[in-house]
Every structure is written in C-alpha cells, then in structure tokens.
C-alpha cells in the first residue's frame, strides 16, 4: 500500500462558522494505480489533494485523520519534513497551466529549482536532467525551449512543462488536479496519454482529481465520487460506469452528452445546486437534490458501506433493509 488515508477531515474556520471541506474521507492508493476522485466544485476533491500535500493555507487546516504515505503519517510531520516529500516523493500538477508557472522565471530555472531542492547534484547535471525531462514529456527541441518564459508557450506546452517539473524527481505519487480542464479537447487527450505513459515509465501512482467523467473513463483504474466533502461512492471504473449505485453518480453519468444518443431527449440535469457549506441540509447532504429521497434521508446521514469492493453511501442500499446491494 503506497498511500492510505484514514478518516481525513479538513476544515476552514471562517467568521461565519466552520466549513468542513473534507469530512471523514478514507481511501487507499496502490503502487502504480490511477485513482480518480470525481465531484463538482466544492465537493472537497481539490481540498483533499492539497491536504495530502500539506498545502492547505490558513484559515484552513487538517483537523483530523491520518495520511499514511509509505506507512509514515504525513499529518504528524513538520513543514520542514513535508518539504522533503513535496515535489520529491509526492508531486502535483494543477489545473491552470497558464498561471501555475512563475511568469518571470525561465522554464529551466523553475524545473531546476525542483530538482536541486531534492537531489544533491550540480547545476550542470540539473540542467541536463531538465532538458531530458522536457524531452520525455514531448517538448520539441527541449534544449532551446528550456530558455523560454512561460508566456512564450501554449497552454498544452505549459502543462507538459508542469508535468516535467512534477516528474523530475521521479515521485511515487503524482497528484493531478484537473490537469486537462483548461485545455482544448485534442490537447486534453495528449496530456492524458502523457500521464498514462509516465505512469508506465516511472511506475508511479496517480491521484487524478477531476469533474470530467470522460477523463475518468479514459484514464482511471478506480474511482471515488465525492459530494459535499464526503465520499458517496467508490468502485473500479468498469463497475462504476456499468452499475452506478448512488443517485448522485447516476445523475452525473446521465448528464454526460452522448453522441450516439439518437433520441430528442433533453440532457439530464441534477436539479438544484450544491448546498452552501454553512447551511447543509440535515441528514444526507444530497437529499434536497435527490430524485429518490426518502423521509429517512432528511433526518440522518447514511454510512459508507462496502459490498464486494463497491462502496456506497445511501439508504437505498442499506444492508438492514435490502439485505444485498445488487438487489436493484
């Protein structure tokens, strides 16, 4: 087991109250595995990834739980110890390639900074490695482009640079937070393909954060669906897409436009909006938007329960009532 997250809670203390952005989240990632976390804005998926990196800024912070990376609890480490892991053993690429690179530094200096922070090598060797990494991620004439500033590159190229930087110290875990969202569709496919190749090449695990189920289907081995800070469903990709259980997952899947859909049916939309984090509905947080909401759902929060490796948080599949998950 490479990473084991147990009962993670991340909170933001605001003037008007405390927002629990990540609420009792547990999952694991194996070596070489691609795990996707899907959810809408505010579902807590990005906050989860930043919690792993120890990058939650005030007024937020990890309030509970454990993050076991190679059996070492990251939540117990000092910032200094975390710095040795960040960019080295765990690295991250972000959604906005346009703004995630420092605009006043040359590409090579930004990548070399990462390398020289974690490896005891000379400047010359770091530069050589930088060029090699740029080549690996498919940047043409890498030796010249290394001298470019970010604004001289396209979005897709910048995301390749970000990837090169994140991979430069051969991490065990790469967190990719919406790596393709800001890119054109053709470029999206290229970046996903790149991630796939890199996973093979470096045998690293990838935590893929996205709201795009298409990306999940393309890339992931296993999927976690998050809603309002909680995991509502977890399964391997095939199972999730073929047998979605939670009404939220079902809704998400139905709202993907399908080219082969011949009928005039309007695209399905989940009604309502994500609730305000300070005014959560009592009971299940999805209850006010759920088509299959029962009375019980407005009163208590269902537990996440596991049946045959498929986890779901919904009373529709309550063991006590249904006996078995596949009853439906």
């Amino acid at each position: 087991m490479l990473l084991e997250v147990k009962n993670l809670r991340t909170e933001f203390k605001l003037k008007r109250g405390t927002v629990r952005a990540v609420d009792d989240v547990s999952f694991t990632i194996d070596k070489g595995e691609i795990l996707a976390i899907v959810g809408e804005s505010g579902s807590g998926k990005s906050v989860t990834s930043l919690s792993l990196m120890g990058l939650i800024q005030k007024p937020g912070g990890v309030a509970g739980g454990e993050i076991l990376f190679k059996s070492q609890d990251l939540t117990k480490l000092s910032q200094k110890e975390l710095q040795q892991i960040r960019g080295n053993k765990i690295s991250m690429i972000f959604q906005e390639p346009m703004t995630s690179l420092n605009p006043v530094w040359r590409i090579k200096d930004q990548i070399m900074e990462n390398i020289m922070t974690h490896m005891k090598i000379s400047k010359k060797e770091a530069l050589a490695r930088t060029v090699e990494m740029l080549d690996t991620v498919g940047i043409p004439s890498p030796a010249e482009r290394a001298n470019d500033y970010p604004h001289q590159m396209s979005g897709g190229m910048r995301q390749r640079v970000m990837t090169a930087m994140a991979l430069s110290c051969e991490p065990d875990l790469l967190i990719a937070d919406e790596p393709t969202t800001a890119l054109d569709v053709t470029i999206q496919a290229q970046i996903l393909e790149l991630l796939y190749q890199m996973r093979e090449k470096f045998n690293m695990a990838v935590l893929l954060i996205t709201h795009d189920l298409g990306v999940v289907y393309e890339a992931a081995d296993r999927v976690i669906v998050m809603y309002c800070g909680k995991i509502v469903e977890e399964a391997d990709v095939k199972t999730l897409f073929e047998h979605p259980q939670h009404p939220y997952t079902v809704g998400l899947l139905q709202s993907i436009p399908q080219i082969d859909n011949e009928s005039d049916e309007h695209l399905y939309m989940i009604k309502g909006m994500v609730p305000n984090p300070l005014h959560m509905p009592p009971g299940c947080s999805f209850s006010d938007r759920c088509d299959r909401c029962m009375e019980r759902c407005t009163k208590e929060m269902p537990e996440l329960q596991e049946i045959n490796g498929h986890k779901v948080r919904c009373f529709l599949y309550d063991k006590a009532e249904e006996g078995e998950l596949s009853a439906k």
Binding site: M53, Q84, F94, T99, P103, V104, T117, H151
Partner: protein, 338 residues
C-alpha cells in the same frame, strides 16, 4: 529596447519645456517685480532701471523666455541676482548634499518599507501586520519636519547621541571628489570623516525616509497579498522549497513591479521633502537654499532648481519604466506601446 528608450527621452523634452514655461510664468509673469526686493526699498529709480536692463527684465516677456530657454539648452541657466554667480555653479555647489541625503533616505525607505510590507502580507492580520500597518499609517500622517524636530529633541537633545544640524564637522571635511561625503571620505581613507558624515546623515535621512517608507510598506503589502494568491505560488510550495524561498524568490520577485513604480515616484517626493528636512536640520543642500531664493525673488536660481529637479524626476520614472522590462519578461517595449 534602445529605440524605446530613445523615444522616451525625446518625449521628455516637451515635458521639460512645459516645466520651464510654468516656472517662468509663475516667477516672472505673475510674481511681483524683484527689483525692490533685490536692491532694497530705498534704491533709486535709476539704479532699478539699470539693474532691470542688466538682467534683461525690460525685454518683452516672450523674448525673455526665448533668451532663457536658449541659454538653458547650452547649459547656461543665468546668473543669481544676489551672488552674481552662474546659477549652475550655485546649484552644483549644493546639489550633492541633497542627492546624498535623498539617496540614503530612499535606500532606508525601500529596505524597511519592503521588509515591513512583506512581513505584514505574510503574517496577515497578525500582531506584526497590525503593528507594521500602524507604523505606516503614522508615517503617512506625520509632517516630516515635525518628525525631524522630534528626532532632534530626542536623539540630539535628550540622549546627545547624534548631531542635530549640518553635514559634517568642518575639520573632518573630505576632499571634494564626488561631493558625496560618504564616498569622498571613504576613498580618501578618512574614516573619522566617514563616521562623522554618517552620524550627521542618520537623523535627516530617517526623517526624510519615513513618509516614503510608509507608502512603500503599504504598496508592498497589497502587492504581496495579491501575488501570494496566485497559482504559481502554490506550484512553488508544491515543489517542496522553503517558505522563505517561496516568499522572496517567487512572490516578492513577482510583486516587485508596482513596488518599484512607487519607489520611483517617491524619489520625486523625497526631493520635495528635502526642502523641509534641510530646513529643519540646517542641511546645506539645494532644498533649503531654494526656499530662501523663492523668498528673496532670486528667480534665475529658482528656475534652475525646479528645472533640474523636474528633469531628475522624469528621468527616474523613465529608468523605472525601462527597469520593468528586466523585472517582467512579458513586457516588451518594441511595438505600438510608447
């Protein structure tokens, strides 16, 4: 780049001509006749007439301006009504003192301003932030001449630590090489002179620096707060580099542009503030001298000084603009931007 700089320098000319016109209008057209002031109330009509003729004051006003501006272009700013010395000589005898004071002040202001601003931004809403911003608020609210007076009362009067007036002990005065005593005393290995010049500089430079420091601190804070929100700061943190490096090498480096702009503008206001500081500390510079010249209607000197200070001001701003290109590779001064 060179073309841009050249273009900008060309554009300075109309501004400086404008400055000369405005000063000329104020001093020679709207001001009362200088003759009775310069020659005294009891001068004879004849003497006044002779003096006016000699100083070209009987020519039509446009001709006076024409003579003045053609002279200025060849480096001749006229002759002081009182000392009968060329204005350029009068100015350059005093200018190094003012520049030395202003340069030391701007260095103090920039260093402490940026320091306070960065700490305030990084420790936002903490006690450091509140204290820093309180100091900055007092700094912009306090008249600099009063701050100078307070410093004298406390450090010269009560504690007897530092001298309250002058530039240096006359016995220690270094050879005049650059006119900057700190430099002149150092290169002539006059360590006592250096120490003394430094001790004389501390109070006036601090008084002069306070206002600019406050402005720079506020600017730095807001610029840093904005920069620290940017995505690339998160990227930098994700690399595992130290927080100090994130703040200095990434955030401050990016937030520097508005700060540099403010520093450039402050240098202009420092030259203005020098008028007051020099008066308080009897600093033998151009500021106090100019006030005296305005009061006794020594117009040629006043015109010369204002023209010189305005030139420095616009030049500094030009340098700041050029400096941007080094701070931010995205800025290119080649195409349509002028």
């Amino acid at each position: 780049m060179l073309k841009y700089i050249f273009k900008r320098i060309l554009m300075l000319i109309p501004v400086l001509i404008g400055v000369s016109i405005i000063v000329f209008l104020i001093m020679r057209v709207f001001s009362p006749d200088p003759a009775p002031i310069v020659l005294g109330q009891h001068a004879t009509q004849e003497a006044v007439e002779v003096w006016r003729q000699a100083n070209g004051l009987n020519d039509p006003i446009y001709l006076q301006y024409f003579h003045y501006i053609t002279g200025a272009l060849t480096g001749d700013l006229g002759i002081s009504y009182y000392t009968k010395m060329p204005v350029t000589k009068e100015i350059f005898a005093r200018f190094p003192a003012t520049i030395e004071l202003a340069l030391v002040a701007i260095m103090l202001a920039s260093f402490f301003g940026i320091l306070i601003g960065v700490i305030s931004a990084v420790k936002k809403n903490s006690i450091f932030d509140n204290a820093g911003m309180f100091i900055a608020l007092i700094g912009v609210s306090m008249p600099i001449f009063w701050l100078g007076i307070l410093l004298i009362i406390f450090f010269s009067g009560t504690l007897h630590w530092l001298p309250s007036s002058g530039r240096i002990d006359p016995l220690l005065q270094p050879l005049d090489i650059t006119g900057f005593y700190l430099i002149d005393s150092l290169v002539t290995n006059n360590m006592d002179g250096f120490k003394d010049a430094f001790r004389h500089l501390v109070l006036p430079a601090s008084a002069l620096a306070m206002y600019s420091m406050a402005i720079i601190a506020r600017m730095t804070r807001s610029s840093m707060l904005e920069t620290l929100q940017q995505d690339f700061i998160r990227t930098a943190r994700a690399k595992g580099i130290s927080e100090g490096r994130v703040i200095i090498r990434h955030a401050l480096r990016n937030g520097l542009i508005p700060i540099v702009t403010v520093i450039g503008l402050q240098l202009g206001s420092l030259l203005g503030g020098a008028v007051l500081t020099e008066t308080v500390f009897s600093w033998p510079g151009i500021g106090a001298y100019t006030v005296a010249c305005i009061l006794k209607s020594d117009f040629p000197v006043v015109q010369g000084v204002v023209l010189l200070i305005a030139s420095i001001f616009v030049l500094v701003n030009l340098i700041v603009d050029v400096f941007y290109a080094f701070l931010d590779p995205r800025i290119k001064y080649s195409k349509k931007e002028v």
